[in-house]
Chain length 342, copies 4
């Protein structure tokens, strides 16, 4: 049996990535694609790399008949997402890729996103979509909130260490490098090729990046106390990829063992042999996350490096993995594509 999916906001990069992945998924077919500003256009016109697929044309959300839809992927900007989802049928399964349902606490949402949440009851219902840590809740959920792409990367590196009490919670430094596609397709001067090529810079420094809301919520919950990590993202001239370098205080071997043991059975999380560190190009185009651990000549200091593809495992791949769970399909279906290198 094939499940019908709608993708709302299909004219952005995460929407296109969903289409790419679902294209080889045997159990899901795309029944509707919305893209308000590009309504009426063929998906192959907006994204010529998808032109070989037999897809519905882009439409407006209000034109979609949701009665035959089993699951909706919502790849809309935050704030718009909560408004749209509030109007969708109450029994429709939804995977939201925006930031709207990641933070359970309304005050936290307003703090990081600048205005009150307009759909509080939905926010309470939503399950945080970090698959490997909320698998059973996701399986039972109607509404799953995709995580931030940076947030996923860092959590894969750190959650098992916090859970096991292996590291100093007051001294976690995460220096993150991320690719340009994470900024989406919106027009900003500093996202032009001529500005990004041959450049690297730190942004949202000083504890101002919105994904910190997710770290605060998740790490504090695990630790049972407030945890505030240092987190500085740097934009690097690559299309896809996030690489997080996490500097922690704790025993390197214990850290490595905790990660290797926790992720040993996970199909998409791969812990490298001790001392080996991953590169972005090892995972691009795929749903895998590679994690490496190194000690230091300074005793008790450990470096954990995690890397994944922001559009896939960090966003649309995660969404499809969660959708598989919600639909009762094998979790890895449509997601075992090998990375593309070089």
């Amino acid at each position: 049996m094939t499940h019908s999916a709608a993708i709302l906001g299909a004219s952005g990069y995460t929407g296109a990535e969903l289409v790419r992945l679902i294209a080889t998924h045997p159990g899901i077919e795309i029944a509707a694609l919305s893209g308000d500003r590009k309504a009426g256009m063929a998906m192959g016109e907006v994204f010529p790399h998808l032109a070989h697929l037999d897809l519905p044309a882009l439409c407006k959300i209000e034109e979609i008949d949701f009665s035959g839809i089993d699951i909706a992927f919502c790849a809309l900007p935050h704030a718009m997402s909560q408004a749209v989802i509030a109007e969708l049928p109450g029994d429709l399964k939804i995977v939201d890729l925006s930031a709207d349902f990641r933070l359970r606490n309304d005050g936290e949402y307003e703090k990081w996103y600048g205005k009150p949440h307009a759909a509080m009851e939905l926010q309470q219902e939503a399950v945080y979509g970090l698959t490997e840590f909320y698998r059973e809740e996701i399986r039972a959920a109607r509404l799953v909130a995709g995580t931030g792409c940076n947030a996923a990367t860092v959590q894969f590196a750190l959650r098992p260490l916090i859970e096991a009490g292996l590291i100093d919670l007051d001294d976690i430094v995460c220096d993150l490098k991320n690719g340009v596609s994470g900024a989406g397709r919106s027009l900003k001067e500093n996202m032009l090729f001529a500005e990004r090529s041959e450049d690297v810079f730190a942004y949202s420094a000083g504890g101002t990046h919105r994904h910190l809301g997710e770290f605060d919520q998740e790490f504090s919950a695990i630790a049972g106390r407030d945890v505030r990590i240092l987190f500085t993202p740097h934009l690097v001239p690559v299309n896809r990829g996030i690489l997080a370098s996490c500097y922690v205080k704790g025993d390197p071997q214990a850290v490595h063992e905790a990660l290797a043991s926790r992720y040993g059975a996970e199909p998409f999380l791969r812990v490298l042999p001790f001392g080996r560190l991953p590169g972005m190009s090892h995972v691009q185009g795929s749903n895998f996350c590679h994690i490496g651990v190194s000690g230091d000549r300074v005793t008790g200091r450990t470096l954990v490096v995690a890397t994944l593809d922001n559009l896939c495992k960090g966003s649309s791949g995660q969404a499809l993995q969660n959708a598989n769970l919600m639909l009762g399909l094998p979790e890895t279906e449509g997601l075992m594509l090998a990375p593309v290198f070089p």
Copy 2:
């Protein structure tokens, strides 16, 4: 039933690409991987992006037991390829990715590759692997010679036009742009990142590029007379991709119709609407080739632009497509992966 494949020369980019593609192919499994200089290493060490796959370790060719192998992909350097293949079992199906069996005429081989061919009888047996034009011969073949990646791109643009007598055979200019992975993983100063980044240059100008041997052979055979095109490749700072701009004398609409009509039923060749031209990023990571046609304000002049991924449709994807035919499998099996963009 699953077919067993060996990949000889698996430590290069085309070898790795074969593994990537076969990884999601339901009917072929990889039984052996050779890589002489890296024999003994795990494939995941040589190519960490393939580390999630359950693969045999790299070995030396002489360590492979070919008795259980149904098909061998030979991704070795030219000259070495003919020597190795001559020693393989005479009933083994082989897809060769080197240049060794592309030219039927021994003199032509020596002219372009600088020494006489050492396995003439095999050369005579080999079928030229341009799938869309040699499909039936390939289906029946034991030894198929993969085409040059540039050669494939330009032939997709021009063959139907020459067949139909639509263009002036004495005035064909092909200006080609290709990505860096086409040069393989061998160490050359001018392939270093610092030399290639931010640069574009023409190489093998003046009718000296070896793929001209393929053009001469194929175009002359179609036309029934000698055809000598002008062909200048330019290296551009991208990893994957070939984009050929072919300037011909002929009616633009007739050219477009000939291509659209010839390729209408082809699963991997896509002719765009008249006047629209493709970009490399529309096909990267996939087995598709996109072709566009434009007229000019100068009457009777036509531009045909074709683009494909040199490692996939230009090499390993083509090889797998041919292997599917040789093994009696559906031609598109394992090859319908959508391009990865951005």
Copy 3:
């Protein structure tokens, strides 16, 4: 004695490049910088790479007192440029970098730029700014029109050949590759890093690119008859650089000799030894143009490749070279910076 310069439209790339070049020029100082949308900002805020310079803040054009200005560089969008210049003092020396004064014929301007010219008398007064071919006119001019960057590159390759009657005027194919900074700092979806990186595509094909107006005007004037070349630009993922591959019918050695002889005394135009071809990275950041010539195995066919930096020799460097002439300064002053490689 130091000359005072104003730069109008200094918040774009060509404006910034003018500042970079003039920064080391001993005879010119920058007295005013305009940038309407960024008026009030320091230049070092808009362009942090210029923050070490002691520069006037950006202002609105109407705030500039032109009484003490010796020369104005006008780096405004076309159409706006003619309106602004018409209001400037009638005795002010002006180098215009827009397209507004390149075409002498009003009908041609309207044909390529879509509306009638609003300052016809200025258009008649303007001298075409291709320094090496209009040197004496530029020296005497009040208003010099900078050439298109693509237009300069191709003219350097072809003018001496047309002048000498060495090539077939009805069969000139120019396949051009250019860097992204040529599109300026304006916001377009297809100029985002994620869209341009790893991509190459042809645009303005079919004889529609506006620089054709310059080719028509200049080549026809030289030849004494209508000349219509084929010209297709391709965008490549580099910041700076234009590389034009010109396919002509004519004797290769004669072509090489004509170029070498014509440019032998030119400080910025460098003809390579016969058979050697230049790369973009040989000229980036400088005012040099490198030109190479190759023959072909097809007798009578010749490839001329010219490359320059679009922001420097193709635009702001050319403008400064012309300003030097107009101000009676040594032509190469401030322009002998070596290219930056790698």
Copy 4:
């Protein structure tokens, strides 16, 4: 009066960068260029971007007559450098760009570079070439040891803070991103374009990078106790540039003031307004270093980001700056070139 310079090892990137800079220096002329493997070739053949300069051909070191040479720049590999310099005239001024004379302690040299030093007396004589901190010693020196490019960047960020006792010496984390040209022109598989493009990875992690020897020596000397920082470099796909993100414990405002005050009069070191952070593209092609400071929501944590061009301020520009001092020339001569952006 013009000083004569020899550049030993001119066929590498730092040698070419020295030539680029000296080309516009009014007080130094290049009298000899050595490059053993390319001896006999013109510099313009090895580096076409320098072809417009009137330069001596590359020769072997033993062919140079040092009697007329005022200063030698030695851009040779480490170990070779000490052997060559030991044979040069004892009164020749020398700026060495290798690692051979950076570490004063012989045991440290052997520890980091794997074999004993062969010219200990020279090592004792050498002055560490971090201009802004050893200016007077350099002015008086005969032999100056250029610093590591990463080492310079991090020291610019941290020295004033350690001097002023503003930060916790036991908790300094430096996450560094550097461009590919830092690896030089030597042939390594992982420096190929296809391997580096679209990738970021950490290398020499765990306290194994050789530049740590410089940090240990310098920071411990300033602090009067052992200081061991954490330092992890990451390779990013840019040609030129180092960006060091230094996470320290100390008051952000005090840190900013210490840097701003210490560097206020320095011509090449620029401290940005508090809270603003620099990007690599702000300094590429120049001798400038930009430094920014940010606080954090976590009280008492400070981020210092420093960026410079590894080939210029990190290597050849520093060398020329030191040579200016050694020759009694103005320190900034030949070095005020503005960065090239975009």
